[in-house]
């Protein structure tokens, strides 16, 4: 059996005195779609941000594709990675944010082309062709040269997905990708994500879309107060939750 894409063992994260993650243990297999559910403040987003080192963990082990996040282990000792190495590893992980975070001074295509040109050193023409192709895949062929301000929230989020995909990531992180959207715009974004899941992308999705988790998720993880309360396949966790906290939460969102 191949190594998991993401492996967390006893991951702790504190902000000052506030302990946000209190020992997270979980594994994401290659090609798996994992949906993280839980009330706000449960640490889902923080955990996601630890995976691409936007946040530094305080204790435990967190590895992506068999390599520790932020450290190198040698002779039983941990060495902090240089900025350059951290950046290199980040570029292999795509991230989609709740607030889209498109670059407002660039058109949709320019948003998608920026990292391939700057980080991978691709030529403009090549990057542009790929950007047009990716924007087509998320259904935005006619918005290639549009600035974000003229796009709807759902369209912006799909540009953000195309932008992350342009770096050919081996793992995609979604931080509540539909929470900032008007209800009628959620469907298009979920479609783009569903399509990505069918292509075999490894995905971790923090979401409140129970329907999406049930349909697309291979695993559903329920987190509360910094710990994993329960996890398993969607049908078990969503339809027959064993813990009262999961039951209470699902009762509220459904």
């Amino acid at each position: 059996m191949s190594e998991p894409m993401v492996k967390a063992e006893g991951v702790h994260k504190r902000f000052g005195r506030l302990e946000v993650l209190k020992g997270i243990n979980l594994e994401v297999k290659r090609g798996e779609v994992m949906c993280l559910l839980g009330p706000s403040g449960s640490g889902k987003s923080t955990f996601l941000r630890c995976i691409n080192h936007l946040e530094k963990i305080n204790s435990g082990r967190l590895s992506v594709d068999g390599e520790l996040v932020g450290y190198r282990e040698s002779g039983g000792k941990l060495y902090e990675l240089h900025d350059r190495e951290i950046i290199q590893k980040r570029s292999e992980i795509g991230m989609v944010f709740q607030q889209f975070n498109l670059f407002p001074h660039m058109t949709a295509a320019q948003n998608v082309m920026l990292a391939p040109i700057q980080v991978k050193g691709q030529r403009r023409a090549q990057a542009r062709d790929r950007a047009v192709e990716l924007l087509g895949q998320v259904g935005l062929s006619d918005k290639v040269d549009t600035y974000p301000v003229a796009l709807s929230g759902g369209q912006q989020q799909r540009v953000a997905i195309a932008r992350a995909l342009a770096m050919e990531p081996k793992l995609m992180l979604f931080d509540e990708p539909t929470s900032a959207l008007d209800p009628e715009l959620v469907g298009d974004v979920l479609d783009a994500m569903r399509q990505l899941a069918h292509q075999g992308m490894t995905m971790i999705v923090v979401t409140h879309e129970i329907g999406f988790a049930r349909e697309v998720g291979d695993t559903v993880v329920f987190m509360d107060e910094g710990v994993v309360v329960e996890s398993g396949n969607p049908a078990d966790v969503l339809d027959n939750p064993r813990h009262s906290r999961t039951q209470t939460f699902l009762h509220k969102v459904l």
């Binding site: 691409n52 936007l54 900025d83 350059r84 950046i87 290199q88 980040r90 570029s91 292999e92 992980i93 795509g94 991230m95 944010f97 607030q99 975070n101 498109l102 670059f103 407002p104 001074h105 660039m106 058109t107 920026l114 990292a115 700057q118 980080v119 600035y147 974000p148 301000v149 003229a150 953000a160 932008r163 992350a164 770096m167």
Partner: protein, 306 residues
């Protein structure tokens, strides 16, 4: 009710409302008062011979005055250039995780904003009293450039140092404000794509900060045009010192000061137009509506929708 009767289907436009408008007598009173005052000022300007309008016309394009205008422009452009480059550098230093680097930036800004510009200009002009020779090279090591203080620090160089270094401190605060105005999510998105700190600064933060930085920078440039007149105190032939020299000979200060005022107004007006076009260039992607045209802005339309 059938659909053909929907109001949107109507072909006739209803008549516009005709009503007696509200009267505003006090507006008329205020207008008359203002016009009266303006008329009396204009009258005095025309009638009073001491304005010496024929002298104004005579000196407006005098070769010495034109040279002074050119010198003023040179000083403005070069000082602003020093100020902007220094300001960006200081603002980036201020954000450095290294406390010595950010502290140095803070200290610089504290000093140059905390002392009068006029004093700084005098100081640079007299720097040779402090250093007879000036060596540039490795600190505590060998010098690479060696120069006599008096040949290196000419009046022009002292003026540039005074204006430029002072401007750097103000620009640093403006640039820093621009950086702070860029949403943190932008930096995170750039980082998550694998951009380095420098690339994030260059491609994501700076272009967006520009929109916030430019309007106050335009104001700084316009202030600089006028502040260059301060270097007249170190006998540099910029516009003000030039006209001072002329009227110290012909004893006609008012016409010559009017000449200088006309040139300053002309230069600041051109700068204002330039500022408008630069701001429009960097405002791309931030407004859904078409940007207001120059004409609309002058007339005060556009942002009030009136």
């Amino acid at each position: 009710m059938s659909t053909s009767e929907l109001p949107t289907q109507a072909t006739e436009r209803p008549d516009d409302i005709e009503a007696v408008p509200v009267r505003h007598p006090w507006r008329w009173v205020a207008a008359v008062v203002v016009l009266l005052i303006a008329a009396s000022i204009v009258r005095s300007i025309i009638v009073n011979p001491n304005f010496g309008w024929h002298l104004v016309g005579q000196y407006l394009f005098d070769q010495r005055v034109l040279n002074g205008v050119v010198k003023t422009l040179e000083l403005t452009v070069l000082s602003m250039l020093i100020g902007v480059v220094l300001g960006v550098l200081l603002a980036i230093m201020r954000q450095s995780p290294n406390p010595i680097v950010s502290g140095a930036s803070w200290l610089y800004i504290w000093f140059f904003r905390g002392t009068p510009l006029l004093l700084q200009i005098y100081f640079w002009f007299n720097i040779t009293a402090l250093f007879r020779t000036i060596d540039l090279g490795v600190p505590f090591g060998p010098a690479i450039i060696h120069a006599n203080g008096n040949t290196l620090i000419t009046g022009f160089v002292a003026a540039l140092l005074g204006l430029g270094l002072n401007e750097g401190a103000y620009m640093a605060e403006i640039v820093r404000g621009g950086f702070l105005a860029v949403n943190e999510g932008q930096t995170e998105a750039a980082q998550s794509l694998g951009l380095s700190r420098l690339q994030t600064m260059r491609h994501v933060v700076l272009p967006q900060a520009m929109r916030v930085i430019l309007p106050p920078t335009g104001n700084e440039a316009i202030s600089m045009l006028k502040n260059t007149s301060l270097v007249s105190v170190i006998a540099l032939f910029e516009l003000l010192y030039t006209v001072e020299q002329i009227y110290s000979v012909n004893y006609k200060p008012i016409p010559l000061l009017i000449v200088a005022a006309i040139w300053y107004l002309a230069m600041t007006s051109v700068a204002y137009v330039g500022q408008y076009f630069i701001e429009r260039r960097f405002g791309r992607g931030f407004s859904r509506a078409e940007q207001a045209t120059m004409k609309e802005r002058w007339l005060g339309f556009g942002n009030r929708g009136q």
